[in-house]
């Protein structure tokens, strides 16, 4: 038997009694239709919880809230004139593309390619199948930007040029797993002289600061690598830490308090594939 129509599935979800028993039987025995129905039932159930919630889903802010936001935004503007959507021109000092580690771009993007302009992105979007998640693309653009930045830093004359041994996206711990940064393990010989390079999107730790940790796979031990005071930094890794299982990179919000240990407030995390 063919699958039942969306219309019939919706009728079942709504508890309509007029549904053809044959259709019900099919849905009961068909995993695909059952799944669709379950989704509709979930939406129906969520909406049923709205009974009595008249007009409560939007709340008008007072006028002062915008002033607070605007003030903070202007401060940020003054502190750091960001031009994030400008194409990043590869500097002449940047080495050939294969030495720049693109940090797991979601879409195949040439590492040497410029960050696409908005017009280019729009054109690209037009040619893409619909339904593609915009954030994947945004993430790809962000990765590329980070990749270029990391690439630049790696090849700045004052920096070391350790090879990248492993890299991992740092994602938030909630269900959305949004990528907000990347970590790269830069290799030394036999676990000695390794470094961890961390790059993130701009963060506001509020009244505290951001600390970088390596957490052991055993889920119990951890070492603090140091404080992340800008969008990227490189930290020495204790010898043999990686081989001992300290492979989970974790960034935490910390307050100036009497508790030097991990606050428990993890911002993002990723496990180095080593």
């Amino acid at each position: 038997m063919t699958h039942v129509s969306d219309d019939v599935l919706a009728a079942i979800a709504l508890g309509d009694l007029d549904v053809d028993p044959a259709d019900r039987d099919h849905v009961d025995s068909c995993p695909m239709c059952s799944e669709e129905l379950a989704e509709l039932v979930q939406v129906h159930g969520l909406l049923r919880e709205e009974v009595g919630m008249r007009g409560a889903h939007r709340v008008e802010p007072g006028p002062e809230l915008w002033e607070r936001i605007a003030a903070e935004a202007r401060d940020d503007e003054a502190a750091e004139p960001v031009q994030p959507v400008q194409p990043v021109q590869p500097a002449e000092t940047v080495q050939p593309a294969e030495t720049v580690q693109p940090v797991q771009p979601v879409e195949p993007v040439e590492p040497g390619e410029e960050v696409p302009s908005i017009a280019a992105r729009r054109a690209a979007k037009a040619s893409r199948p619909s339904g593609r998640s915009w954030w994947l693309v945004a993430a790809a653009a962000a990765c590329l930007l980070v990749g270029v930045l990391v690439g630049r830093a790696v090849w700045a004359p004052s920096e070391t040029t350790l090879p990248v041994v492993a890299s991992v996206p740092l994602t938030t711990l909630d269900a959305s797993k949004q990528q907000e940064g990347t970590a790269q393990l830069l290799g030394g010989q036999g676990g000695q002289g390794q470094e961890l390079k961390v790059a993130t999107q701009p963060m506001s730790p509020g009244s505290g600061y951001v600390e970088v940790w390596l957490i052991n796979q055993d889920g119990k031990r951890m070492v603090s690598l140091g404080i992340l005071s800008s969008d990227q930094a490189t930290f020495p890794v204790p010898p043999d830490a990686i081989s001992q299982g300290y492979t989970i990179v974790d960034l935490s919000n910390e307050q100036f308090d009497d508790r030097p240990q991990h606050s428990g407030d993890s911002i993002m995390r990723g496990t180095l594939p080593v």
């Binding site: 919706a10 936001i69 960001v82």
Partner: protein, 197 residues
């Protein structure tokens, strides 16, 4: 600075132009986003957190974070609300985590263990966001479908009741309910995946 084009009504700017203007660093664009979706973000935060003060703090964080990470926004017709709601989800979850920590601080003093993820908090955030987004989606339905679903869900009225009140055949009300439910399911999927409408 990009001029934000407004449609004929003078109230709704072109979403794509707005997204582009924000990505290019227009504070006016942020202001417009705030005007359009600030109440929605504050609605989510208020429902999720209960406290108006905390909700306003979170809303402030959301729009400041949006401003600071505007470079990661890929302008499209539908990107802005999904993006802002995504940020709001995070900030509310952060606030839940902060509260959870505050309550278990005494147990945690000696233990330097891996911080657990707040599964309950996450569920609650997702549920609140989904419900608010669904409510918003109901409001965006064309009439009379919007009224039909509003009466059915928010006012808890029977379909017969709705048919009588709106002077519509019962079959038409049922049809609006089915199509409305399917539309909302799609909206929620888009909200989760951030896809195009």
């Amino acid at each position: 600075m990009t001029e934000i084009e407004r449609a004929d009504t003078g109230t709704k700017p072109d979403p794509l132009a707005l997204a582009e203007a924000l990505a290019e660093g227009s504070l006016d664009a942020l202001s417009e986003c705030y005007r359009l979706w600030g109440p929605l973000v504050l609605g989510i935060a208020t429902r999720a957190l209960g406290s108006r003060t905390d909700a306003e703090d979170v809303t402030q964080q959301v729009f400041v974070a949006a401003w600071k990470s505007r470079g990661t926004l890929r302008p499209s017709e539908s990107a802005l609300p999904a993006w802002l709601i995504g940020i709001a989800r995070h900030r509310v979850a952060d606030e839940y985590a902060r509260r959870a920590r505050a309550t278990r601080v005494s147990q945690a003093v000696a233990a330097n263990t891996v911080p657990g993820s707040d599964v309950e908090g996450r569920d609650t955030v997702d549920r609140v966001v989904d419900r608010v987004m669904l409510r918003e989606a109901v409001e965006q339905l064309p009439e009379p479908r919007r009224t039909v679903l509003h009466l059915a869900y928010v006012e808890d009225r029977t379909q017969e009741d709705i048919a009588k009140q709106l002077d519509l055949p019962l079959g038409t009300v049922k049809s609006h309910m089915r199509r409305g439910l399917l539309r909302l399911r799609q909206d929620l999927r888009d909200g989760w995946e951030g896809g195009d409408r």
